[in-house]
Subunit: 565 residues, 2 copies
């Protein structure tokens, strides 16, 4: 069972199962061979089956989808129920590998599906509004508004609001059976937290709790919701939300153990960087912070995932933010500048996603990576100027998208003395052939094109290893060529570096991008603590499970190139 | 059991077993991660154990070798027996991955091993001469001589001979128990065939049979040998060789079925190419060849393996030379110019093997690849000038080293209208990071080095795809990144191309570089026939198992770029 979704009236059930398909032994040619480039294992052969259970209990197979339909294979069960049909998204991939999101509708009466929308553009999952059209949040920053686009293309604005809608973190959106009210997931833009937006013909009314309201479910009339309430310092608890009054009532703690811990102090904060881009985030303070004393600091980043949720793995991965603060680090959780606030950023993001006109490579570089790295550096400078942190003892960590910014930050300046980069390698030329369109959008060509090569030399971390000085740890879930190239280039340039590969459950599988094996998670966190303690503080802990690494690290520290001393 | 070798007196047995080592689940760091770059599967964990059985039947483990010791893991059991010890080669790999061949000696009396020689240079397996020194064939071409180098470094020449010694195809070398005579494997340079060289204090005496004498074994006194006799048109038969008289006597046919077939006509021939390099080879004639009629032709190449052996897979891989000739092609089996004949070629070969001074990249290109491709082209021109073949219907095939020359030939000129390139990809920039020293030796840098990039653009087949016009089939044993890059580049340039991946025995294994699965061998040969028939002759065979490919090929032929028409 991959995912399921009950109809609002509780009478129908949509569900998806994954089917293992056996790997037939045969000669493969052309595309079937080409698609295996750079893959360590052949792509999973699973297909997905979509079923609908009718009120009479009869189950109908409504579609079988190939593995190329990543949208279905990884579905969370988001569908739209209308009175007559269930609408579900699938992904079609053409021969050039271009993915297209198609919305299908299965008619209960006709017993068949038809495509009702198809777009290559990435769109937030659409929600039906009280006027029968599609709801969306539109516009940039202060001009942001909630709109509903009717089937006739007519646009109705519900007004300007400092939040966005359509995030998956809490729930998609639900439409009341009487059609008069829609509830949607909303996210505040400044101190990013999740709430419930109630939209009816009169307008939009937000409901906020303490911290965020996440993972909400509703009773069929949409009168009452059950959610988790959680925040940076608020362990998750189960709450009910009365939609009419907006009253939030705590039902039970999810983990009473966590409630016993006196929370750390966490302060929302925003910064504006040298490019004029504003970013949000949090300062996580050491428990016994003494004003006037300078602390070592670590920046943790992952896209826009720094928000009011509790110790979110999506955000902090295997960087044990709370433990680091307990050990005396000021931890900065910093988001990237949001493309919801800035037209330039949005244009660059769209160009990268092949949905817009490409910008010149130097501009792509600036808007998609250099400004991110600059945000972190400028936040560090600001807190150093305020006497809070010690500029000489600052580290940086991030995985996935965050690893790109870590690798760029470390090879563009010397602000960070140590880094932990998690399971990333995008921007390395070795990956260009595996996703040529995305690389061409950024670098204006492939790396063996003499006209494009200078753009790679200006950004690809492994080609800039000789600019780096800080110690760089890479923790990876599979032996990615790009991560290995960066490691080798760093070592060749004399930069202290380590690459750690965490094992899968057996010889035939890998750890996942977001680690899921508890022993790996524990080890990765301990390794990060040992790494930062050693390289930022010069501290050794003979009790650390990684104590036997100190000799290696000593040797790298002793051999630091002169340019870095 | 990997390999074994009896002592000449038949009293001792040396043997090697392979041990499977289980793959421990653990976090790997640094070199253990880095070595997995570009590997689809983790390196085999097998270790090898070397044993010696004494005259009393007692078996002693004399060494256990790691998998990095490729020499032992792939041993054919070549050792040297002296009265007191058995000498065996192992390979040591240092942290930089540099391999060093070490000769070990296990003393029967002391019951332990010591290293007696160590060299990074590639040396032919050493044979002990009648004077107690090491035998070798030395010098170039006409100045080639058989020499013995004593332990004191003194050099004794046995004179000049038009053959080389030390090939593994027949046997290594054996030293008579009385020390007065050594028998070695010899290979003639002109019409390359194997024989036995008998060396005593008086000199060297060659023994030749019909075709080649291969896979010889000797009685303990070295008075009689049992060998296979085989040649291009001579199916293997078992023969005895009287060493004193040189008389060769047939004992039995290995495959009486083959003896029933009237052999094709195969003519040894040599050519001198535009660079002045001489190459040897064979013309395999269509069975009913008619003088004055022009025939389509296919060049098959693989290093120096075109010699007097029967349908040798090392040479003709999955190119069914005999069947192609039966179908009306003139097949040319052509060797590369031998570095045993030319000092320039030897210098380039040594530079590539990291054993000599590097030459300028344009010189490396010329001596290691362009001259090879030119040999094939010039041979084609010569036979076309003689009215034998039709210049417009010429194909080329080669695997491994041969695939390099096929890919270079196809992207440097338009002589060949169709090609089949087997399981190769060296020279592609994608492989450079996996063997940087060898690439730097050739290209004077890695591909992202702007100074080196022009050298890649001048030679790497995928970067020259837009110069190609002939149809290129790649048959591969695993989805190599380099082969896939070449395929994609060809298709992008509109060049007709196909890549075919042949499966391993199961999902957890690949086909081997020299195919070993009979169904794959059969299919690959049929595919080559279909490919050449289609692209050279425009012939379709509805009975071919690949007949369903014609539609694809038609589409590619129809879309041939204008520059190729």
């Amino acid at each position: 069972m991959r995912a399921y979704n009950w109809s609002p009236d509780g009478r129908r059930l949509f569900f998806i199962t994954l089917d293992s398909a056996s790997d037939e032994r045969q000669i493969l040619i052309d595309e079937k061979v080409s698609e295996q480039r750079g893959l360590r294992r052949r792509l999973g052969q699973a297909t997905a089956s979509l079923y609908l259970r009718a009120p009479d209990g009869k189950v109908t197979l409504i579609a079988r989808r190939p593995r190329s339909d990543r949208s279905t294979i990884a579905s969370k069960g988001d569908v739209i129920w209308t009175g007559e049909e269930v609408q579900y998204p699938v992904m079609e991939v053409d021969r050039e590998g271009i993915e297209r999101r198609v919305t299908m509708a299965w008619s209960f009466v006709e017993g068949r599906a038809r495509a009702i929308a198809s777009t290559r553009d990435y769109v937030y999952w659409q929600m039906k509004g009280p006027r029968g059209g599609q709801l969306a949040s539109d516009g940039l920053g202060d001009t942001r508004e909630i709109v509903e686009i009717g089937e006739d293309g007519r646009r109705h604005s519900y007004g300007r609001f400092p939040f966005s809608i359509g995030h998956g973190a809490a729930f998609g959106g639900l439409w009341a059976p009487d059609g008069n009210q829609t509830v949607v997931n909303i996210r505040a833009l400044d101190d990013p937290r999740f709430g419930i937006g109630v939209i009816d013909r009169r307008g939009v009314r937000p409901i906020w709790g303490d911290g965020s309201l996440t993972k909400c479910d509703f009773n069929p009339t949409l009168a009452i919701a059950a959610c988790l309430a959680e925040g940076q310092t608020l362990p998750p608890s189960l709450v009910t939300v009365d939609i009419a009054s907006g009253r939030v009532r705590t039902v039970a703690s999810v983990s009473p153990e966590h409630d016993k811990i006196a929370p750390l102090q966490v302060t929302p904060r925003s910064w504006t960087n040298r490019y004029g881009h504003k970013v949000t985030g949090y300062v996580v303070w050491p428990r016994d912070y003494v004003k006037g004393q300078r602390y070592p600091a670590i920046v943790v980043n992952h896209g826009n995932d720094a928000d009011q949720r509790f110790a979110l793995q999506d955000n902090q991965w295997e960087y044990p933010v709370q433990t680091l603060a307990e050990r005396g680090y000021v931890v900065l959780l910093i988001n990237e500048a949001s493309s919801r606030l800035n037209a330039d950023l949005r244009a660059a993001e769209q160009a990268w996603g092949l949905q817009g006109t490409t910008l010149p490579p130097e501009r792509m570089r600036e808007l998609l990576w250099l400004t991110g790295a600059a945000s972190f550096e400028d936040a560090v400078f600001e807190l150093a100027d305020e006497g809070i942190i010690d500029r000489e003892r600052v580290g940086i960590a991030g995985y996935s998208r965050g690893s790109q910014l870590v690798n760029v930050a470390m090879t563009q300046s010397h602000v960070f003395r140590a880094a932990s980069s998690g399971d990333g390698g995008f921007l390395e030329p070795a990956m260009a052939a595996d996703m040529p369109d995305y690389y061409v959008a950024i670098f204006a060509g492939l790396p063996y094109d003499p006209k494009a090569l200078p753009n790679y030399l200006a950004l690809s971390p492994s080609l800039r290893a000789s600019k780096a000085c800080g110690a760089i740890l890479q923790q990876i879930a599979a032996p990615h060529v790009a991560s290995i190239d960066f490691y080798r280039a760093l070592r060749k340039a004399g930069v202290p570096a380590q690459i750690s590969l965490f094992p899968g459950e057996g010889a035939a599988s890998d750890e996942t991008h977001v680690f899921h094996i508890p022993s790996n998670r524990m080890a990765a966190m301990e390794e990060n603590i040992a790494w930062f303690d050693y390289w930022l503080l010069g501290k050794r802990d003979r009790e650390s499970p990684f104590a036997e690494r100190y000799a290696r690290w000593d040797a790298m520290a002793a051999a630091l190139p002169n340019r870095c001393r």
